[in-house]
């Protein structure tokens, strides 16, 4: 794993400024995907910006009747939210179908769409075994 600098800004705009325009900088939240990719050498970064302090973990009611989901809300918290379970059961089911309890306690709503999934597991295995 390549050495990297770690920062945890307290404001969202600071975090955005740190990552913007730097191809070797990345946002970190739960780390379930990123940490493994750093270890495998799939992700090679110089700056890791932890955004859990700079973002919200809350799930709140939105003015249009929907829900506003904080970036740092974990998959577990979101799936367990009563409003999600009652009004958006497909979302709760989807979250509960993915991974396991310990991972859902770490993985976040913001990190989920930012995952840089590798194209296929064969490629990942190749990387792991042969470091190509």
């Amino acid at each position: 794993m390549r050495p990297f600098t770690f920062v945890r800004p307290s404001a969202a705009d600071e975090a955005v400024r740190a990552v913007a325009g730097d191809p070797e900088a990345v946002f970190l939240a739960g780390g379930t995907d990123l940490v493994d990719h750093l270890r495998l050498g799939v992700a090679r970064l110089a700056l890791v910006v932890d955004v859990r302090t700079a973002t919200s973990r809350e799930v709140t009611g939105a003015s249009n009747g929907g829900l506003r989901i904080g970036v740092a809300a974990t998959n577990s918290e979101l799936a367990a939210d009563r409003r999600v379970r009652e009004h958006y059961p497909v979302l709760a089911q989807a979250l509960l179908s993915g991974a396991r309890g310990q991972l859902r306690n770490m993985a976040t709503s913001g990190g989920n769409p930012l995952q840089r999934r590798v194209p296929c597991s064969r490629w990942e295995i190749r990387h792991t075994l042969f470091r190509t």
């Binding site: 770690f6 379930t32 379970r85 509960l96 991974a99 309890g101």
Partner: protein, 213 residues
């Protein structure tokens, strides 16, 4: 098909001559007490000081930013209760309670959890008294080799809290209601912890008993 005396390693046959030399397995074995493991920074490494409160004791190791919470606990804090199984978030052997929630310490960067409170399986005791989950694992013989047990126990403690809060699982039929801790619920909620001895039946019994206590 590999001929006798050959191992198939990733599709390539490797000739094995004589008995494998296991001497290296014992070479470089170190005493794990924290103080003997002051890792020297490697060239180019970025170091950071982190504060970790582990089982009620504060530790402030200076670590490489790349260190996982698991490695920080095992190599720097000096307690090998959390186990390194796969180191990829698949086996659950490294499960600890991080700020009271069960997580995989192999996928957490130690530097990202500065100031966190960590509880490991062996830190669950209250003085001499075992935690109800620890006692249940003994009573129900939920351990064979024991390698996965610290992770299983931390996971069970976290999982019982989650169930108590009414958190649903993938097998909860009525998402809007409060889940009942059936054996199917226990098996699903504990599915992040692998046991290669296959002690699953007794683990389910132990968790069921600890959950009812």
């Amino acid at each position: 098909m590999a001929a006798a005396g050959q191992w198939l390693v990733c599709g390539r046959a490797r000739q094995v001559t004589g008995r494998p030399n296991l001497a290296h397995a014992h070479r470089g074995r170190r005493k794990v007490d924290g103080s003997s493991l002051r890792a020297e920074p490697v060239p180019g490494a970025v170091q950071a000081e982190v504060t970790l409160r582990v089982d009620g004791r504060t530790h402030q190791p200076t670590i490489d930013t790349r260190t996982s919470l698991l490695d920080a606990l095992r190599e720097r804090v000096g307690n090998t209760s959390p186990k390194k199984g796969c180191d990829h978030g698949q086996c659950g052997a490294c499960t600890v309670l991080l700020d009271r929630e069960r997580v995989l310490s192999c996928l957490a960067l130690a530097v990202a959890h500065d100031g966190a409170e960590v509880r490991r399986a062996d830190g669950l005791t209250a003085g001499e008294a075992l935690h109800p989950v620890q006692q249940a694992f003994i009573d129900h013989d939920a351990v064979q080799c024991g390698y996965c047990a610290p992770g299983q126990i931390c996971s069970a403690v976290g999982m019982l809290q989650e169930a108590k809060r009414g958190w649903p699982s993938h097998v909860t039929a009525d998402l809007a209601g409060d889940p009942e801790l059936t054996d199917a619920e226990i098996a699903e909620r504990m599915s992040g912890n692998l046991c290669r001895c296959g002690a699953y039946m007794n683990i389910v019994s132990a968790v069921r008993s600890a959950g009812g206590a």
